[in-house]
Symmetry: D2
Subunit: 292 residues, 4 copies
């Protein structure tokens, strides 16, 4: 469901724009086998709950709101044993005017979508933050050589190719000293998000790439080094091929200047970078689609 | 990658139209940490391999072609330990003409997309068949009552609602007596597919629904009863809400005649129906996205 | 807006599933320049009107329902001078069961979407019927030769290529003897639709194609020959390229057997086929997007 | 077709990322009626031409590249009478690093897509610039009152609603003193683009809205006032409804704080704002889809 929350408590409004999905597990045998709905918390009730809790508590970071919801669903209704809340957040910024940033007029910004997945059950709580759709490209400092040649290999080796991908990343927080069964807590979810995104971008930019896999690993390594509260980071990155067009038939050279951007990603790299001493992931990744 | 294969060996051509995704696992540490690509079978080579094997062996059922590819990738290249091949198949039928069905002119047919996921590693082979996007609707014989009422529940109980969903189903085959580590084998993948689809449709149509969950279970139960070679079937089904429009302000009643089809599915039901004596699933579901 | 209408008057229900868009023209200067909304029939009212008229009159063919709406909007509200109603219709068929086709359980069918655009103003009424997304392919009897060669031409001539396209067609009806300003009337909109679709498919199948443009013309010509009540038919058809994969590096030939289906249509052919004596199109095409 | 051009002439690379569509008109009767392709400039040749001209001349602003292509196609090949070139441009910015903006690593930026449509034939040249997908929202200063009430009106009047839309805008340039038949020329296409976008955003932010139509008019008026070289600007803007959720059943008020963002835009406002003394539009709008 799409939830927009406007904090009107100050003259300058603040907006949060979220897609919220809730997923409950529990004693659901009767509803499946006999159509007995006594344990089935309806989606309509779940939807109303999201709206009402947003009104009662406001909406801070996506991770905080996810924790609020996950604890509510597992705490309030006995047949529900576990809850997973997935959130997507769309960023807005104030419209600039002659008098400065406007107080209640906004324009959607940013290319990537911020994500959070909060999972809770009787044994614990897990927070996975991330983003999707961060599209990046390097026009130099990327090579691809030394791969095996089978009878079906035609690809030429190259020491100068275009490297482009859409980064989807998700990282799992650990608590430094959390009470048993309570969520890990970043000092500041928003600041952590901005730092991880900046680290990933800079690592992509400054690593001479020998393979997209190696760029991925470098991006993960720097995040684990700089953030002690992150135990593991996972990436899913298609290889957005940009091929130099063959202009020789027209008597022209083409040193990676005119490129054909292929629509279909032929390769997708997925991998996790995890600390050697990372605590067990528990249910953290249970609701995360399409990952390693 | 999109592969179209035309069997031109007879006067009447036959076409297979497939999306094929391959996913390999293996010794990939060096490429990630050192950019050493010696073990990295490039996506370009994988793509060429799919084309070349299609030419060498033709394309029978999606499941057969998936097995062919999975065995090739795990058998030919030592650092590759396992392979998963996902296939989508788009159906075509011959264009009817005054002289009967045309021999080489086709029109795309069918609403649903057939799927197959074949997984292989050194320990075994697994085949999961399925379809996605089979959209169904019942305009009677559906009720929804007896659900719990919390302080956030507003939904009224009903003994006459519209029930609509898009069925995604995936089922896992077992061999009755297969050689160790060889794939389960349906007598005929195409016939099995048509039978499962027909059983699912008929169960949806003829079950008086007390909840979408209960319809789901009925659909799974009949498949397991009729097909001894299927160990488990999983469904993912959104609840495509159709609300009766309130026409009372205009002096009209509306006994579920004029409906507003809401765009956003507020609920999605996912569940597996498995035989009590089903063998272990192994890696069958490893590459299946978004399922229970 | 999405409207689903269930005719429950007989034991066997009948359903109509439509996307309806209404577009009004009229005296709208005050609302734009002064924010005076006195002439502005709100979209909320338009939406309610569609629902209420569906309840009052039922929903017959899409064209009939479009005429009903267009006449209502131009007749009931003085500042509105003209109305265009665009409709998309999604087909359903009864689910087959052991007892025959089910009375109130349906499965979505058909690949193509039926369309209708009805335009009305004080001077007349126009009906344009059509479909979109009818995907067809010929694996033989298609060539492409004799095109001009410029300094940028590399394409080889061929007398055997795969021809594939997604046909979007729209045709304009004329009245044989209609009262002035009244809509043209097909004897039976549904029968006319099925006949045009069948004619288009058969012409595609049986014409040896020298160019997609020539196939298009043949498809239009047969429709005008067989239906005296159609004045003009327009097509928009991308050229869905299917290239034979080069397998020579692997020592294999490939006589159009293994094909790469390119995602991006590089060419789109749009043309109208009109009778020499066709009456003026009036406003028939005013609301039709993306056509010649 | 998707064209990426990397200008590597300086240490800091510059990239242009464009979707380019070309559309030619001319003597095409023979190809349609007889399959005689002698006048048919193939799409493959058109594609090659775009790549080759990008190599020969580089890619400056989208408008410049469109003019280059349109002039080429109408000048080089006699049977082609006219050409329309549609371009979409995707923005990238340099990745920030500790050493400053990176010289050859980029991240996709911006929410909106820049567009240009250049049309040329023997009689003249026309340039239409624009953008699509600029999503904006006002959480105050928007009302909607005084609209007509019919028997199907239920909407309440309001003096405080959320106003949100996705702005698509296209504007037509005029030459102040151009040679006959030559394109209008903005002093600087890029600067003009940034100015128009900023004017549109500020007008949306600072206009107290009585109707979306009135906001639209205010946005167009300021552009025509500030840019003498723009004759007309057109908008297409859906009304992205954000409804306050009814929380009264849970004992809560909701003064536009918790909002349900409806997926489907029920209304779309399209209008042109044109100077009184604007020159004739000629073929400027011929290829512009979905506009007034």
């Amino acid at each position: 469901m799409r939830l927009v929350h406007v904090d009107r408590s100050a003259d300058d409004h603040r907006i949060k724009d979220l897609n919220v999905s809730t997923r409950l597990r529990g004693d659901m045998e009767a509803v499946h086998t006999r159509g007995d709905n006594a344990n089935c918390l309806t989606t309509d009730t779940q939807k109303n709950t999201v709206y009402a809790l947003a009104r009662e508590h406001g909406v801070a970071a996506a991770e905080d709101f996810g924790l609020l919801l996950a604890r509510h669903f597992t705490g309030e209704h006995a047949p529900v044993h576990g809850a997973a809340v997935e959130l997507q957040e769309f960023a807005w910024r104030r419209i600039p005017t002659a008098e400065g940033p406007h107080g209640h007029a906004f324009v959607r910004s940013g290319a990537e979508t911020r994500t959070a997945v909060v999972t809770a059950d009787r044994g614990g709580e897990w927070v996975v933050s991330g983003f999707e759709g961060l599209t990046v490209l390097k026009s130099a400092d990327s090579e691809f050589r030394g791969f095996p040649r089978t009878r079906f290999t035609t690809l030429a080796e190259t020491d100068d190719r275009i490297l482009a991908t859409d980064v989807t990343a998700r990282w799992r927080y650990v608590a430094e000293s959390s009470a048993p069964g309570r969520a890990p807590q970043a000092a500041d979810w928003d600041a952590a998000y901005e730092q991880v995104k900046a680290l990933v971008l800079e690592a992509f930019a400054t690593t001479r790439s020998l393979a997209l896999q190696q760029s991925l690993y470098a991006m993960g390594e720097v995040v684990l080094r700089e953030r002690a509260d992150i135990a593991e980071i996972r990436f899913s990155m298609p290889n957005n091929h940009h091929f130099a067009v063959d202009l020789a038939p027209f008597g022209m050279d083409n040193p990676n200047v005119v490129l054909h951007a292929a629509d279909r990603p032929y390769g997708r790299i997925e991998a996790a970078v995890e600390r050697d001493d990372a605590p067990d992931a528990g249910r953290a990744w249970d609701s995360v689609p399409g990952f390693v």
